[in-house]
Structure formats: structure tokens, C-alpha cells
Subunit: 256 residues, 2 copies
């Protein structure tokens, strides 16, 4: 049975989508079967994978309101072993439409429960909020991975995020664990980066992935070509960092 | 009568708070009377101004649910001429609590209408979404300023943002205009930055502020000292850029 990992942080622009897209691709390159679920109405993970939606393509929205199942919404990508459940702006409507649905936080889990056994890894990209969409991802997931930008404002929201995780563990999904924090946009030349990284390592004691993802322009260029960085520039530091992060996860998962 | 400007973009991490805090401070330094309203439950504008809330301090939340008025919630800051309406995590509750209030998008306008005449400029920092809080800001405002990071993902959400602005103009606030786009985190050495800046200038034809805000580490260090960059390092490029942006606005406002 595979691992289902929500990538979440309500702070905006910390590298959630960049991590979801590039970690998924790095594991697929290692021939793990991966499903990437785009749960953000911005649809950045969808375009970051180079997927453009046909007029009649059903998306995560249709899955959540119950008018389509996984087979109807999932699409293949240019990366072998990596499939995607795309999102579009229609997903904004789900937050409002689900407000009166009983157990609205577990709509996604009910739609996918037992249907994810084909995959070794499932990653869920969340929007920059702790609203209904992110909660649905946390309720489906076995663990949550928290990308944290090495900057001051990114530290401020951590206690709220961990409170939300505890709430989900208590009321919606007792099996949810914390996968760990991933340092993003790390720049070793900056005092600020090193100081914040230090604080994060203290705050998440022992639950921070060894590899910081360094600031690397290739990572921000790749989405404009609709590719994960591994396809765009496999020799870049960004590609190296995400491949190393994937290896760290694989080593952890295969340890006795 | 002063100008009320919403700073909005649903894309996360594009520099909304950095622009709200530093543009407010730059105009206050020019002895304009400025009010900064923090409408984001993350409360980054509040901490970015170095304001820590006492146990009983009322905030924007109390203003919106009607249990306090402007005089009770506004606080002075370390910058003369600049006052703040702070936010705290309690604001998350407002989105849910206001769902059944009639005309819930204009709660903030009703609470503040006619009470902002003491100020030359009022800036509203929005969360990374187009939900009820951002809509309340757009309904109160005379214009909207859009910070846009010079990166690919930041381009994707623009049409959705402008659709929302048009919706607000049609249904909630006919006097809302587009103040313009502000290029943020611009790095002249990167092709990506220059290309995206070019696309933004085409997209917003004529409505882009001349001065791009350049990537400058002083801007990301200042919040950890609870200061706008003008107090933290007045000689930095970040401070120069926001002072120039303030001058551009003042020149525009005083033009015959
Ligand atoms: N390590 C990195 N080096 C350089 N640029 C990066 C890096 N990681 C992400 N970026 C860029 O920073 C911006 C923000 O990243 P991204 O969009 O992945 O964050 P996010 O948390 O998903 O944002 P949102 O909160 O809007 O969903 C993007 O333009 C992305 O290309
Ligand atoms: N011009 C700049 N140069 C360097 N760093 C910057 C610049 N502008 C903003 N930053 C930093 O980038 C990060 C994102 O900026 P900021 O928090 O202002 O964006 P935001 O749009 O308000 O984010 P959110 O969507 O979470 O509200 C912050 O850590 C900030 O300090
Ligand atoms: Mg994202
Ligand atoms: Mg902000």
C-alpha cells in the first residue's frame, strides 16, 4: 500500500507546488508509481506538469462533487510513472458548494478510499489556506509535508498549521502523522536563511529533511516550459536537491 | 478625502504584505496620514510593523463582527503618521461567521464608511485568496493595487483576479478602479524576470508602476526586526524602491 502525503502550508509562496511537482517527478524517475493531486484552484501543479485541459476534461472538482471517479479525472503526464488529477478554477466553487454537505472535510477521502492501491506515492498540492480544500487533503493523507521558506514571515504561521494538524488528527484522521519540514529557497550566503533554518530545525526537532532545497532559478524557469526541473535541466542544483530529497524518502521507507 | 487602496493577489508570496507595510511607511515619512488595515489572519502586516497585541487588544475581527469601532481597534506604530488596524488568527473565524450575514461582502465598508476622512491614504493587506476577506477589502476600496512577482506561476492567476475585480465593480463597488500593478522581486540579471515583466507590462497596458521593486534581502530581513525597511535600512535598495513608488503615487495624485 502506498503513502499518501499532503503538502501544506497556509503561508503563500513557500514552494508547495514546486515541491509537489518536483518530488513527484523525482520519485517517478526512480520508477515509483506516483499520483499527484492538484487541490489548488490556481491549478499551478497542473500547468507546472505541462497539462492543458481540454474543454470537457473533468477535474478534481468533479471528483469532489461526486460526478466523476478517479479513472475519469486522472491524466498521464510527460513523465512515465507519474499521473495527475488536474485542477481548474472551477474548484473555487467546491468550497462554497460543500459547506452544507455532511462531513464535508472527508469528501475527498470518501471519493478515493481504497482506489489508490496502484500507487507507491500520492502527493496532494494544497492552496495557501487552511480552509476546506486543505482539510480534505489532510483527511485523506497518511502524513503531511511542510515546505518552509527560509524567511521570517514563514515562521509565523507554523503554530497555527500544527494546531490544525492536531485538530485533524483528533477529529478527522487519527492516522495522520508529520512527514517533516522541507527547507525551501535556502541561500547559504544569507544570514537570514541560516538563522531561520536553525529556528525551523529547533521547532521541528528531528523532523526536518536533511537536504535544504536551495534557491535556484532553474526551479522558477521550469514551470514556464510546463516541465518538472528534472526534464528541464537535470544538471541543475534544483534537480539535484529534489532527487536527493526523493532518495532520502526512499531510504527512510525501505529501512527495516 | 483620502484614497483607499486594496493590495490584492490570490497568488501566495508575491509581496502583498511587503508592499502594504513599506509603501505605507514611505508615504508616512512624507508626512501623509496613513492607515494600514491588516485583513489577513496570518497577521504579517501587524508583526511586520512591530506591533504585538496585548491580551485584550481588539482587532479587525471585532470591527467586522460589530463589537468594536475604529477608535477601539486602531493602534499607533513606531512610524509617525502611520496607524494600524491589527489582525490576529481570530480573523479566520470571520469567514465562517459572516457566511449568513446579509451583504456579507460589505461588512467592512459599513463598519468604516465615513470614518476614514482623517487619512490621506488607507492601505488594505489581503490574504492569498479571493474569498470573503479580500472581497470585503475590494468593496471598501476606491482602487486595487496588484503586486506581481516576476515569475511564471504569478502570471497564471491574473485573469481570475481581474475577473473578480470586474465582478466587484459590477455588483458591489462601481467606483472601484485599478490603481495598477507593481512588479516585485525583480532581478535584472535573470531572463525570467525580464520576460515576465515584459508580459505584465503588455497585460496591464499602461497600468504598471514605473519602478520595479527589486529583490533585496533587506526587505526580507526587516520584518524579523518588526520594522518597515525604511527604519531598518534606509539606504537599502528596497527602501529606495518603495520611496520611489510612494513619490510616483504622490506625483500622480497631485497632478492637475
Ligand atoms: N528553490 C527555489 N528556488 C527558486 N525559486 C523557487 C524555488 N522554489 C519555488 N520557487 C519559485 O517561487 C515561487 C513560489 O513557489 P510556489 O508557487 O511553488 O509556492 P507555493 O507555496 O505553491 O505558492 P502558493 O501559496 O501560491 O500555492 C514560484 O514562482 C516558484 O517558481
Ligand atoms: N523585493 C523583495 N526582495 C526580497 N524579498 C522579498 C521582497 N518582497 C517580499 N520579499 C519576501 O518574500 C516573502 C513573501 O513576501 P510577502 O510575505 O510580502 O508576500 P505576500 O504576498 O504578502 O504573501 P502571502 O500570500 O502569504 O500573504 C517574504 O518572506 C518577504 O520578506
Ligand atoms: Mg502553489
Ligand atoms: Mg501577506
Amino acid at each position: 500500500m502506498g503513502r499518501i502525503i499532503s503538502i501544506a502550508n497556509q503561508k503563500g509562496g513557500v514552494g508547495k507546488t514546486t515541491t509537489a511537482v518536483n518530488l513527484s517527478a523525482a520519485l517517478a524517475v526512480a520508477e515509483k508509481r506516483v499520483l499527484l493531486i492538484d487541490l489548488d484552484p490556481q491549478g499551478n501543479a497542473t500547468s507546472g506538469m505541462g497539462v492543458t485541459l481540454e474543454e470537457d476534461q473533468q477535474t478534481i472538482y468533479d471528483l469532489m462533487i461526486g460526478s466523476a471517479d478517479l479513472d475519469a479525472v486522472k491524466v498521464t503526464t510527460q513523465v512515465p510513472f507519474l499521473e495527475l488529477v488536474p485542477a481548474s478554477i472551477k474548484l473555487v466553487g467546491a468550497e462554497v458548494e460543500l459547506v452544507n454537505v455532511p462531513e464535508r472535510e472527508s469528501v475527498l477521502r470518501r471519493a478515493l478510499e481504497g482506489r489508490l492501491t496502484d500507487y507507491d506515492y500520492v502527493f496532494i498540492d494544497s492552496p495557501p489556506s487552511l480552509g476546506l480544500l486543505t482539510l480534505n487533503g489532510l483527511t485523506l493523507a497518511n502524513s503531511v509535508m511542510v515546505p518552509i521558506q527560509c524567511e521570517y514571515y514563514a515562521l509565523e504561521g507554523l503554530s497555527k498549521l500544527l494546531n490544525t494538524v492536531r485538530l485533524v488528527q483528533r477529529q478527522l484522521n487519527p492516522s495522520l502523522t508529520i512527514e517533516g519540514a522541507v527547507l525551501t529557497m535556502f541561500d547559504n550566503r544569507l544570514n537570514l536563511s541560516r538563522q531561520v533554518a536553525e529556528e525551523i530545525r529547533t521547532y521541528f526537532a528531528g523532523k526536518v529533511f536533511d537536504i535544504p532545497i536551495q534557491r535556484n532559478v532553474r526551479l522558477s524557469e521550469a514551470p514556464s516550459y510546463g516541465m518538472p526541473v528534472i526534464l528541464y535541466d537535470a544538471t541543475s542544483r534544483g534537480a539535484e536537491n529534489y532527487l536527493a530529497l526523493a532518495e532520502e524518502m526512499l531510504a527512510y521507507d525501505s529501512a527495516p
